[in-house]
């Protein structure tokens, strides 16, 4: 067991100082040496592109949250499928699932997907997907 040695980190500190120094110097030099012509177009946040409309801190529409909730649920359910897909059909020494169980477990996964499908149809019937 080795003890903690600060000396091994010195190169990182030197690197940090160098990076910060370079960034600050470059910005300061550009500000001091470069010519500044302040026209209205140059003052805009995006010099080329659409003119910004309104305040950036406006509220999101509630509709987005509905979609977010649905996405969250359906997205995370994949977490159950991933270990099954990665483990179920391994062969030889790495096999974790006995071969006889592959069929039953597949049926269980299908039931799980069917439950999700019911959830999807429920959301659909409730009109969650209508953009009102």
């Amino acid at each position: 067991m080795q003890s903690f040695d600060l000396a091994t980190y010195y190169p990182i500190f030197i690197f940090l100082v160098f990076v910060l120094g370079f960034a600050v110097t470059a910005m300061a030099m550009a500000h001091l040496v470069g010519p500044a012509r302040k026209t209205p177009v140059k003052q805009m946040p995006y010099e080329s592109g659409m003119d910004p409309v309104g305040d950036a801190r406006q509220h999101f529409d509630v509709k987005f949250y509905l979609i977010a909730i649905l996405f969250l649920v359906f997205d995370v359910e994949l977490l159950f499928l991933y270990p099954w897909a990665a483990m179920a059909y391994r062969e030889g020494n790495e096999a974790l699932l006995p071969a006889e169980l592959r069929g039953p477990v597949f049926v269980v996964v299908l039931v799980f997907l069917a439950t999700l499908a019911i959830g999807y149809v429920y959301a659909w019937r409730k009109g969650v997907f209508q953009w009102r």
Partner: protein
């Protein structure tokens, strides 16, 4: 054994719960096509009946006494159908049927299918948490109860108070979930397995004095997390606010279901069930009885004292639910000592008995309030019940039975339950006698204090003149729910032996 058969056996054990959950999924979907509260309540009663039929089927083919024929949990199976699981599953199904009857006319047509589907998932969760022999299953089963409860709290009423109640319950409940999970993670680390039987075996083989500190932390966290579900002080403070804000059906659900599941989980995880030759409840440290002693004393005292100050009926019943959790905790505190001296009625046994009695009387009391309430004129304060005995003599009589049972009058379930719990505390052998006699004394004082606020309600019903007319048309489902609860309350009070025997078999002592 063939792994396919093994897997199939596990699924067969949980077949009633699987039927309940899958039907609930279909109910959600079908509810978008048809909106009729009578139709969906009838359907969910049918589904509960089907689940009960499936539960009873194996015992029909092998006609042996079902309460004594089952085996202890083993180290392989994630779920077990032992006597405790069977008893609590029957209780859950009956309780579910009563709740369906009770909420028959209390939910609106457009939400009926969702409400009943959530209720079915909750009942399935109670069954699963009673059967769980694995921390993962137990945790998920408890969440199967919590998450539909949030939805029910949130769906049923739309005024500000109800929204606030839903938000409050949700935030505190997820906090308790976090505590419980953290405790579980340490339990897992102690023995490297999530199977509860294997875990407790590993802990028992360690010398009690040499358990790592982490075991004590796990004990405290698990008790805190589950203490929220059973409304033990200091995790009780949400109860009065949430009960007051939400509808009567949800309040009854909250008073009954989380308590059953919480005590089932406490009994299983903390080694009160199937303890073998060792005293129950001390696998995670010999400090457990003292912890439960303190919790019991605090919970009953705070519940009863604060209930004295209330005028709102829902808040009174909320604090009474806190107080009764305190009485039940006495059983957990005395269990190790009583098992040591082979007492007639063990601690865990008394807890299971009281749990069933408490469920019948408190759900019944809420059902009476719901039966008399109308949306325009809800029954909220004690004054609203004034003179009910004249307009509704039968209902008032049944309310009086529930309240007498909550007080602990003889010939009611509440008396039998309190008798076994308090007697247990008095029977503890000499070395610890002073400590537990103090607990029995505190409990007796509390029961006396509790009598005051229950009697106040009875006095209002029978002695005062009505302040306003209660004209609610009679509905048979509501009456049926009240009648079932009253029948159970009286039956358990008059003849407690069968349930007492079943409870003894359930905890395996």
């Amino acid at each position: 054994m063939n792994p396919t058969v093994e897997l199939a056996n596990v699924y067969l054990l949980a077949l009633p719960e699987i039927v309940l959950t899958l039907s609930a999924c279909l109910l959600f979907l079908a509810g978008t096509f048809r909106q009729n509260r009578h139709f969906w309540a009838m359907k969910s009663l049918g589904i509960l009946g089907a689940a009960a039929f499936i539960l009873a089927l194996p015992f029909y083919r092998q006609p042996v006494d079902p309460l004594f024929a089952l085996q202890a949990p083993n180290m392989v199976q994630p779920i077990v159908l032992d006597r405790l699981a069977l008893l609590l599953k029957i209780v859950a199904l009956i309780g579910g049927a009563v709740l369906v009857l009770f909420s028959w006319n209390e939910v609106s047509d457009d939400l009926a299918a969702e409400y009943h589907a959530c209720l079915l998932v909750i009942i399935a969760g109670v069954g699963l948490s009673a059967m769980a022999n694995d921390l993962i299953i137990l945790f998920l089963a408890l969440e199967m109860i919590s998450i539909p409860t949030y939805v029910i709290l949130y769906l049923q009423k739309t005024d500000l108070g109800a929204r606030e109640a839903a938000a409050k319950y949700f935030l505190l409940s997820v906090f308790s979930t976090g505590l419980l999970l953290f405790g579980f993670s340490y339990l897992y680390g102690l023995c490297g397995t999530t199977n509860i039987t294997a875990l407790l075996d590993g802990l028992r083989s360690t010398d009690a004095g040499r358990l790592p500190l982490i075991a004590l932390v796990a004990l405290v966290m698990v008790v805190a997390g589950l203490g929220f579900k059973i409304t033990a002080v200091p995790f009780h403070f949400y109860a009065p606010d949430v009960y007051q804000g939400t509808s009567l059906t949800s309040a009854a659900l909250l008073a009954f279901v989380p308590k059953v599941a919480g005590f089932a989980a406490l009994l299983r995880v903390l080694d009160f069930v199937w303890p073998g030759n060792r005293p129950p409840g001390v696998a995670l440290g010999t400090q457990a009885p003292i912890l439960f002693w303190i919790l019991a004393a605090m919970t009953m005292t705070v519940g009863n004292v604060l209930a004295l100050l209330q005028d709102n009926l829902k808040r009174i019943l909320a604090y009474s639910s806190v107080a009764h959790a305190g009485y039940m905790l006495i059983g957990l505190a005395t269990a190790p000592e009583l098992a040591h001296q082979a007492a007639a009625v063990g601690g865990g046994q008394a807890v299971v008995f009281y749990l069933v009695s408490y469920g019948a009387m408190t759900v019944g009391a809420f059902a009476v309030l719901a039966y008399l309430s109308t949306p325009q004129a809800p029954i909220e304060t004690v004054d609203d019940l004034a003179g009910v005995s004249r307009s509704h003599p039968a209902v008032a009589l049944m309310m009086a039975i529930f309240l007498f049972s909550l007080i602990g009058m003889p010939l009611t379930a509440g008396f039998a339950g309190k008798f076994f719990l308090f007697l247990g505390a008095l029977e503890v052998r000499p070395e610890q006698a002073v400590l537990f006699r103090c607990l029995a004394l505190i409990a007796a004082l509390n029961a006396a204090a509790g009598a005051w606020y229950y009697l106040r309600i009875i006095a209002a019903m029978y002695l005062r003149t009505p302040l306003r007319a209660i004209d609610k048309p009679a509905t048979w489902p509501g009456l049926a729910a009240i009648a079932v609860c009253a029948a159970i309350t009286v039956a358990l009070g008059v003849y407690p032996t069968p349930l007492l025997q079943a409870a003894k078999a359930a905890v395996g002592q």
